[in-house]
């Protein structure tokens, strides 16, 4: 991770979030969530800034940022793909769907490709079990997925990007 001078816009964004939460230390998790919502990840500089601003040791802030799966320390891709691995989807073959997506994108679950085009994540139940296995791309739900349909879906997304 590169560190350096914090972009002014990032500082402003963080200060806004801190103000919204009245600089309340106990709201640290909500603060980190709001920062991530704005910046799409939690860069190291943001963690350092928050640590200073709230008087929480950096080790603690990093501990929180790495404990909770909602946080991403790495920048995420343009398209976030979620494959549901809930029990109902698992029983309907979700693992094969995940593997098809991993093969197609050349990355493992949890990673982002080097072009920052796709981030692949798994989730442990979206609660849309009637249509499982489910793949969500950019908030759009796709149900009754199979490895073949996953390939077709990714092909469409890549084609849309290329055009």
């Amino acid at each position: 991770m590169e560190t350096g001078v914090l972009a002014l816009s990032l500082v402003e964004g963080i200060e806004n979030v801190l103000d919204r939460h009245h600089h309340d230390r106990t709201a640290i998790i909500a603060i980190l969530q709001d920062i991530q919502d704005e910046v799409n990840c939690l860069p190291e500089d943001a963690l350092r800034y928050v640590s200073c601003a709230l008087g929480i040791p950096l080790s603690k802030v990093c501990s929180l940022a790495t404990f909770y799966k909602a946080f991403s320390l790495q920048p995420r891709g343009r398209h976030v793909i979620n494959v549901c691995l809930g029990t109902a989807c698992h029983v309907r073959g979700a693992v094969r769907v995940l593997e098809a997506v991993e093969r197609n994108l050349g990355i493992r679950a949890g990673d982002t490709d080097e072009n920052l085009q796709f981030t692949l994540e798994t989730v442990n139940c979206l609660g849309a079990c009637a249509l499982g296995p489910i793949v969500v791309i950019d908030g759009e739900y796709h149900g009754q997925m199979t490895s073949a349909r996953a390939e077709a879906l990714l092909k469409r997304v890549k084609a849309r990007d290329a055009s």
Binding site: R25, T26, A27, I28, I29, A30, L32, Q33, S63, L64, F67, Y68, K69, A70, F71, L85, G86, T87, A88, H90, V91, R92, G93, R96, E99, A100, R103, V123, N124, C125, L126, G127, A128, C129, A130, L131, G132, I134, Y141, G143, T146, S147, A148, R149, E151
Partner: protein
Amino acid sequence: MKRIGSIEEFEELRERIKRSRRPDQQRITISDGTCCRAYGSLPVVKAFQEELQQRGLQDQVEVKATGCHGFCDIEPIVIVDPGGVLYQRVKADDVPDIIDHMMQNNGAVERLLHVDPATGQRVTYEHEVPFYRKQRRELFQVSRWIDPTNIDDYIALGGYSALAKALSSMEPEEVIEAVKKSGLRGRGGGGFPTGRKWASCREAPGDIRYVICNADEGDPGAYMDRGLLEGNPHSILEGMIIGAYAVGAHVGYVYVRHEYPLAVHNVGIAIEQAREVGLLGQDILGSGFDFDIEIRRGGGAFVCGESSALMRSLEGDVGEPHPKYVHATEKGLWDSPTVLNNVETWANAPLIINRGWEWFASIGTEGSKGTKIFSLVGKINATGLVEVPMGITLREIIYDIGGGIPDGKKFKAVQTGGPSGGCLPEGLLDLPVDFDELSKAGSMMGSGGMIVMDETTCMVDLARYFLNFLREESCGKCVPCREGIERSLEILNRICDGEGTPEDIPLLEELAEFLQGFALCALGRTAPNPVLSTLRYFRDEYEAHIFDKKCPAGVCRALIEYYIDPEACTGCGACVRPCPEGAISGEKKQPHTIDVELCIKCGACRDTCRFDAVHVR
């Protein structure tokens, strides 16, 4: 809206709202929870609004988007009132037809009616739908009638009358007594008697108390709480206010899982509206009781569903559980006496106060009173959220409500209790749904996830799935959980890879004992349950993996082989391209073959084949 200052004023408000509504109001209700949106409900809502506007009917016909109705398999559901004609799997293109039939009052749109799977006949009205027939939807029925973002709907149906009754005519101790006598037990999985929990909190020393709603529903396959939070958030708020009054708390938190943005949104609106009316805040309904609620979002950690971990998370710390030598009702959030209850538990409180503890205790069994909402998912014909009286059998839920197993396959097991629970085989289908009965059989009630499996599910792989889940979610603090789960998982991986040894089963059982006895929190202590219950009822599958190096269900990669049945294969070649390894070959119109050396068993060919020619052995 002016803040209501007394119970009389509140009842006047209720009457005003009811009087402003026509009993024969024409209305289109659309199910619009998260799952419904996954199935495309938003375009349907929009299409109705636009079409009615275009026809100049927007003042005559009300459009109401509600939470999930529970019958997820046929969502988006549209109900036309008056009358209750129910349409299933509605798309935006269907909207003009529906409105035509509604306005011309000439029957229903046949193609959109639900078909009774038992008779093959179409049913027209909501009350005829067989999925609902054996349910007892005391909690869930309300969702069908209310817009969760409009408190008036909840009030018009009698909402907050339990609160008014408690504040005006019951002492806090009487409220606790009623909850105790009702027999309500926690719905989050623990099943602890709720009344006793509230009493402990009230009796604990200290000036500050808290009430918390655990909305961190983490069991994969369980989404009942989400249904309630999205569809009827006020029922939970009302329960919390009643509970806070009973124990003497003035601050409450709803801790909602990060993955539930619509629930966060709807609960947030509900809190705002409750404050505006004067049901939250200072001097609620002129009673002198102050109480307010805040929402906090989870960070994506399953372990934060454990009550002590949840409280640490609220305090701004990592979600590491603490050993419970001292209960949270004495020292919980910020070391103050705290009542933490599950969403469904809170939602039951207003029912108990309104209809009386005797009514609640009349439902269910000796040890398990009231109703329970389950998410019925997996290999089942009718997927959805079902609310049933305690004591109903698993068979009735799976076959009478769920419609049995699809594709003519055979039932194999039903899993309840999530990663802390167990699998129950066919021989136990007549077990009643009851906290103690399920525990005795090696499973548990859990929060309500009920996953049905057929002959194509490998029980060893399933145990591995749950252990893998827990390995990811373990906080890592204590050795038994951190190491015990890791090593158990290693053993199961070896077994599934065909490298199991006879010593593995006794070793798994020993590790299970160790985890059960010494893990710091319930995550670790119950982690062995899936392994133990599958060993108990499906030992033969473990033995097949270990001794015969075979996976009878045809799932574990290392132990199976894909092949094409030459009798069924038409040689269409559709499977050739999807194969990522180019392992399939054959002449056009001649049976094809799979080169097992190249095959990685991804299943793409089986998914593509339209002639059911690809099999696993």
